[in-house]
């Protein structure tokens, strides 16, 4: 692939300079944020670039696993932070368990069964795939958490009415679980609809830019999209399964702490 020289790279900052100029002239107070965002993006990517070079030149199972653990940890932390309300400890456990089980299973199936990489820790495949699976699952679970916490609170009467008639907790929350699941996977499903027409997805764009034959690139893209969908669905399902249980005690009573 054609390399970009340092001068060429620097000249791409012209885009930002134009933006800063417009913003200043119109008196929109966003200069600082734009500047910080551009600098942060550049620095973060530069660091990431060097890290990736190191990892790819020195592939090791330990390093790959460390990065996997870091990504899992960061995504779980992100879900906690993105929650609109304070989430209780038990629910945090449910989030962590579901993220780890759901994504690791999907990543393993994808890497070892579908594309069959060698060696198993090959960072060129392992890291970007794991990143996409974990990132999308994080978004899904995040939506699921907010929806579950919200709905259980709002629809408390409905859950209790069902319990009073002799429903098991599982039956009493079935509707809530179903709609939380639905709204968690919907963004992923929707993103697949416009793919290839409205926009070319990231993996494919990158591969084509780096010289991959488009027909190979789309095969990767298709299998990655299906894998991502599966990973989101499995992760959200596991989360909801453990998540709703944190709202009931051993006496099948609804426990919503205000």
């Amino acid at each position: 692939m054609k390399d970009i020289s340092i001068y060429q790279l620097i000249s791409s900052y012209l885009f930002v300079i134009i933006l800063l100029f417009i913003v200043r002239k119109r008196g929109i107070e966003r200069e600082k944020e734009i500047l910080i965002a551009s600098i942060r993006m550049s620095l973060q990517l530069m660091i990431m670039g060097y890290i990736l070079v190191y990892i790819i030149e020195n592939p090791s199972p330990l390093l790959t696993l460390l990065i996997l653990i870091f990504m899992e940890g960061f995504s779980i932390y992100n879900i906690y932070k993105r929650a609109k309300v304070n989430i209780k400890f038990k629910l945090k456990i449910a989030i962590a368990i579901s993220m780890i089980i759901g994504t690791v299973l999907s990543i393993a199936y994808f890497l070892f069964v579908i594309i069959n990489i060698y060696p198993w820790f090959n960072p060129r495949y392992f890291i970007p795939i794991a990143g996409m699976f974990i990132g999308n699952s994080m978004t899904g679970v995040s939506l699921g958490v907010n929806r579950l916490v919200d709905d259980i609170r709002k629809r408390k009467d409905e859950i209790e009415a069902a319990l009073m008639l002799g429903a098991t907790p599982k039956m009493a929350v079935k509707n809530i679980i179903d709609s939380a699941f639905d709204s968690s996977i919907l963004p992923t499903v929707n993103s697949m609809v416009g793919m290839g027409i409205v926009f070319l997805p990231g993996t494919m764009t990158g591969q084509i830019l780096s010289g991959t034959w488009p027909l190979v690139a789309i095969k990767y893209q298709i299998s990655i999209m299906l894998g991502v969908l599966g990973s989101v669905a499995i992760t959200v399902m596991i989360f909801l399964y453990f998540g709703y249980k944190t709202y009931f005690n051993d006496e099948a009573q609804l426990v919503v702490d205000e």
Binding site: D157, M164, L165, G166, N175, A252
Partner: protein, 208 residues
């Protein structure tokens, strides 16, 4: 049927002794905030008492599986909850929740007749008024072959004439089918007219 000894629940309820006998229409009265609802929620095991003991059929509630108990002691809460769908769905959902066989439309129509609701089973639930919803919720619980029905203010959204008719019909139904009825009501009149046993709750204590 129920026996309570030294039952305490938070600062809300403190009952030294109370027995609720079977085959007697029991009315629970008291001012709002006196602990009536808390008392019946304890009986249906929606909450658990902190101290003392409650027995249902001579067995401590602690030894009853909550779900099994609630299938024998079914409760209707103050605000009638409706589920998505039509009247038929809403009547049948109690049977579904308690995992019992569903019934034919004929049976559902009889139930609607008891709660004095002249509506089509296919009518969407969102078209109903508050009073109509309350009667659907009543019909839903009466369909269950439970041992006891606990009804918390079952007729609060009905006018006096309908209220009277509905309660009369419910009591007939309960007696005919050999079931038991515990009813929370704010209306002393109903308690006096229909209650074979009236329990008054006042500031978390029993006052008879």
């Amino acid at each position: 049927m129920f026996k309570l000894t030294n039952v305490k629940y938070k600062n809300i309820l403190n009952i030294d002794y109370l027995e609720i006998e079977k085959n007697k229409i029991t009315c629970i009265i008291g001012e709002s905030g006196s602990g009536k609802t808390t008392l019946v929620r304890l009986l249906n095991k929606m909450i658990s008492y902190d101290q003392g003991e409650i027995y249902f059929k001579e067995r401590s509630l602690k030894d009853w599986d909550s779900i099994e108990l609630r299938r024998k002691v079914s409760m209707l809460s103050q605000n009638p909850v409706m589920f998505k769908g039509n009247i038929r769905d809403n009547l049948l959902i109690g049977l579904k929740f308690s995992q019992r066989p569903l019934v034919e439309d004929e049976v559902l129509k009889e139930i609607l007749n008891i709660v004095k609701l002249d509506k089509d089973l296919d009518e969407n639930i969102y078209n109903l008024s508050g009073g109509e919803k309350q009667r659907v919720a009543l019909g839903r619980i009466l369909l269950l072959p439970s041992y006891v029905y606990i009804l918390d203010e079952p007729t609060s959204a009905l006018d006096e004439k309908t209220e009277d008719e509905v309660i009369k019909a419910i009591i007939d139904y309960v007696k005919k089918n050999n079931r038991n009825l515990i009813m929370v009501t704010h209306s002393k009149k109903i308690a006096i007219n229909y209650g074979e046993r009236v329990i008054e709750v006042s500031k978390g204590k029993i006052k008879e």
